[in-house]
Structures are given as structure tokens and as C-alpha cells.
């Protein structure tokens, strides 16, 4: 065991802060096992050294990889509910009223991880809009190549599909493949996955009608958060919608957004004239 008690405590706090997931005491072995590959990939001999390194020299990429490694199998569908159910109830009707009948709707899942968010969006649209796969394009991006490939594959384990995915949607949009579940070809057609580093100038994409930028700004310091929001806004339609994580806000970060209440959640829209 290379992780000290303070080291483990630091990891626990990090994971709770970034993902709301609680690592209970007794999970030290889990942390050691899951973080060792990250330590090795950084040229460090053990997890204790990895934690020391990240504590003394904070790195948002290392932090992100640590949280990801400890939260696999934990990613849920329809996370927090309202930001997704808002699509068919509020966002889609509003967009359809102003867009032409052949105009493509573009949605961006900007920290897509293994793809649950992108396919949650795809399922909702498929059920709400006839011919959705031809009318909607979902761009899914992530920093991690592994995550992008997983999103592209659209294949999920039994444990993963148990996490907040309504059973009726599971049977409607997935087929079993061995012990796993494969997203339907229609849904896969709607989603294009690629690598993207939000903290750097963004590739030419969009313009997007809706952006999901959930639980990723928390990894960055204030100036970077501001830069990311500016870059994201530049890729959005002026009447577009931005969804952040449940505990996140543009307040105190960027005052060029208007907050709109959506159910028990919020959306942010570019302020006119800002």
C-alpha cells in the first residue's frame, strides 16, 4: 500500500468535489488498483507518488484521469434529469419554431466520457422527433481518446445500463450483444465523436443550437473557465442553449449569459447584445 491516509483523504475529497461520488473508507485497495496505470503512464512508480505529484503540481488532466478511473461504472444516463427532459419539453419546441424545416439541429456533448450523455440526448430526440436521425447531429467530444472510442462504439456493460436508464428506453434503443448492450444504428448515426481539448483553441465546429458542458469546468481555474465559456459561446447560435452541471453556474465567471429556469434546473443563453 503506497497511499498514505492523508493521500487517500485527498483523493476522496477530490472525487467527491468533482463527481459527487463518495469513496468510503476501506476503498484504499480500489484506489491503488485503479490509479496505478495512471501513475505508470506518468513515469511514476506508485500511486503514493502520483498523489504527491498532483498535490504539489496540480494538473487538470491528471485530476480528470484520476476522477475518471475512480468513477467508471458510475456514469449515469439522464444525469440530474431536467437538463435532458428539457430537450423535448422546452428546448426542441423553441428551436423548431424558429428553424426552417430542413435545417439541421446541432447539439454538442462537450465532455462526453463513455457516451452516456450523447446517447441520452439521442434517445430523447429519437422519441420526440420523427426522423430525428436525419434532422439532428450530435457532436460528442472528450479529451480522452479512449472515451471517444467508447462513445463511437456505443456499447455498454450490464452494470452501466443499470445507471439511470429507463428500462423502456433500454429495450427500445438497445440490443443485447453477449453480456453487453449495443446502441441502435439509428442512434449511432446521430452521434459523431472526436477528441477535443476544451482548454485550447477549439476546432471549427457547429454552430450549435444546444451545448452540454456538464461537470467539466470544475477542473479548471477561473481564467481557463472564462476562456472556455468564451470559446463555447463563439460556436453557438445566438439563441442557443447551454447546460452546465447541477452545481455549476456562469455567475461570477462570465456575465454575458442569461440564466433561464428549466424545471428544477437552469440553462444559460447568450445575452443579446453582449
Amino acid at each position: 500500500m503506497t497511499l498514505t491516509a492523508t493521500g487517500f483523504d485527498w483523493v476522496r475529497q477530490l472525487v467527491h468535489r468533482e463527481s459527487a461520488i463518495v469513496l468510503s473508507p476501506g476503498k484504499e485497495y480500489l484506489v491503488e488498483a485503479r490509479l496505478l496505470p495512471i501513475a505508470r503512464s506518468m513515469g511514476l512508480s506508485d500511486v503514493g507518488r502520483l498523489v504527491d505529484s498532483v498535490r504539489t503540481r496540480p494538473s487538470s488532466e491528471a485530476t480528470r484521469r484520476i476522477v475518471e478511473a475512480l468513477t467508471t461504472n458510475e456514469t449515469s444516463w439522464f444525469r440530474d434529469g431536467d437538463p435532458f427532459t428539457a430537450l423535448p419539453s422546452t428546448v426542441l419546441p423553441s428551436l423548431l419554431a424558429t428553424r426552417g424545416p430542413t435545417e439541421r439541429l446541432r447539439i454538442w456533448s462537450a465532455a462526453c466520457s463513455s457516451g452516456q450523455e450523447a446517447y441520452t440526448i439521442a434517445m430523447l430526440l429519437e422519441d420526440a422527433l420523427p426522423g430525428a436521425s436525419t434532422r439532428v447531429a450530435i457532436t460528442a467530444t472528450d479529451l480522452s481518446r479512449e472515451m471517444v472510442e467508447r462513445t463511437r462504439a456505443g456499447r455498454f456493460s450490464q452494470l452501466e445500463v443499470n445507471r439511470g436508464l429507463p428500462a423502456a428506453m433500454l429495450v427500445r434503443h438497445f440490443t443485447r450483444a453477449g453480456n453487453e448492450w449495443q446502441v441502435s444504428p439509428d442512434l449511432r448515426r446521430m452521434v459523431t465523436a472526436s477528441e477535443c481539448n476544451l482548454a485550447a483553441p477549439l476546432p471549427r465546429m457547429g454552430p450549435f443550437d444546444v451545448v452540454y458542458l456538464r461537470n467539466v469546468l470544475i477542473y479548471f481555474d477561473l481564467p481557463t473557465k472564462q476562456a472556455i465559456l468564451r470559446r463555447v459561446r463563439a460556436l453557438m447560435r445566438p439563441d442557443g442553449w447551454l447546460f452546465l452541471g447541477a452545481a455549476e453556474t456562469t455567475l461570477g465567471v462570465d456575465d454575458t449569459w442569461e440564466r433561464v429556469v428549466v424545471g428544477r434546473s437552469s440553462a444559460y443563453r447568450p445575452l443579446k447584445g453582449a
Binding site: K27, Y29, L30, A33, N73, S157, Q158, L159, R176, G178, N179, E180
Partner: protein, 174 residues
Amino acid sequence: MTLVPGSTRPVITALIDPATVEAIAGETWIALVGDDEVIVPAPGDLPADTLSAWVDITGPWTGSVVLTTGRQTAADLTRALLGEAAPELLDHEDVADAIGEIANVVGGNVKAALPGPSTLGLPEVGQAPAVRDPDDVCRLDVLWRGRPLVVSIQGTLPPLPTPHEHPYPNGASL
């Protein structure tokens, strides 16, 4: 049932691959035994005193999904499964019930990976049913906390006679 010479029944190895069985067992362990509890595919020698739990699958493929391990390991597994709800002293019923449920979970998921429709029987516990057809077995040997455990998916039916066999001396067909 008319036995047509040359007819074959699918054997389990043609219907499910070892990687799927490993994934099923692995996920069962993560969820039921603990998320840092690993099972490592590795050969091991089962002790002389073992306990088995199994469920029967009846359908296009008919057989049993059998879990076998040493009695002490079965008791430890029970304790891990029950966690805080584990009684001070485990009795045979506690252990049979716990490993029966593990067999139910693994068996149900194996069934779902096979061509269907099939039915799943209720768990049974005791001495493992004998292997009827050595060609109709998919066996996974694992170590849990260093202790051996076997998951055996085995067909219930004996092998079909091969075409050159003549069960009736005068060559009459059934």
C-alpha cells in the same frame, strides 16, 4: 424425438465465449461481493470438500450453470455478500442461500446471452451435477482472494450417438 443420423445439437462452446462468461462473473462480483473484489481467471485446485450451487436452463440449449468452491470459501463469500447484515454465526442455510443467489445472478445472465427463449430454474445447492457430455461444457476457473472457484456451464444431455453407430442390430431406424 426422431434422431436423424448426423443431426447435431448446439454445444455450449458454440453459443457463448469464455470472455462473456468472465465478464458476467466479474460484474456479479463487483456488484454483489464488493467493487474492489476481483476474480482472477487462473487455474486452481479445488479442495476435497466442496459445495456447489446451480441453476438449470431449459431451452434451445439445456443445461446447468454450476458454481463450485471449497466450503470455507463459500462461507467467506456469504459474509462478504451480506456485509453488515451478516449474522455473527453463519449457518448452512445462510451459505446455501447466498451462493444460490450468486448462481441465480450468473445463471440468469448466461441464459440471456444464449439463444432463447429459455427458462431459468430455482437455485439448488449440494454436490454438483455430473458432467454428461465433456464436449458440452464451458468452464471458467478463477481465484477469489487467492481461493479457487469454478463456474461450469454444462449441458444436461448426453452426447448424441454419432452416425456410424447402429443401436439396433438389424439396422432398423427409430
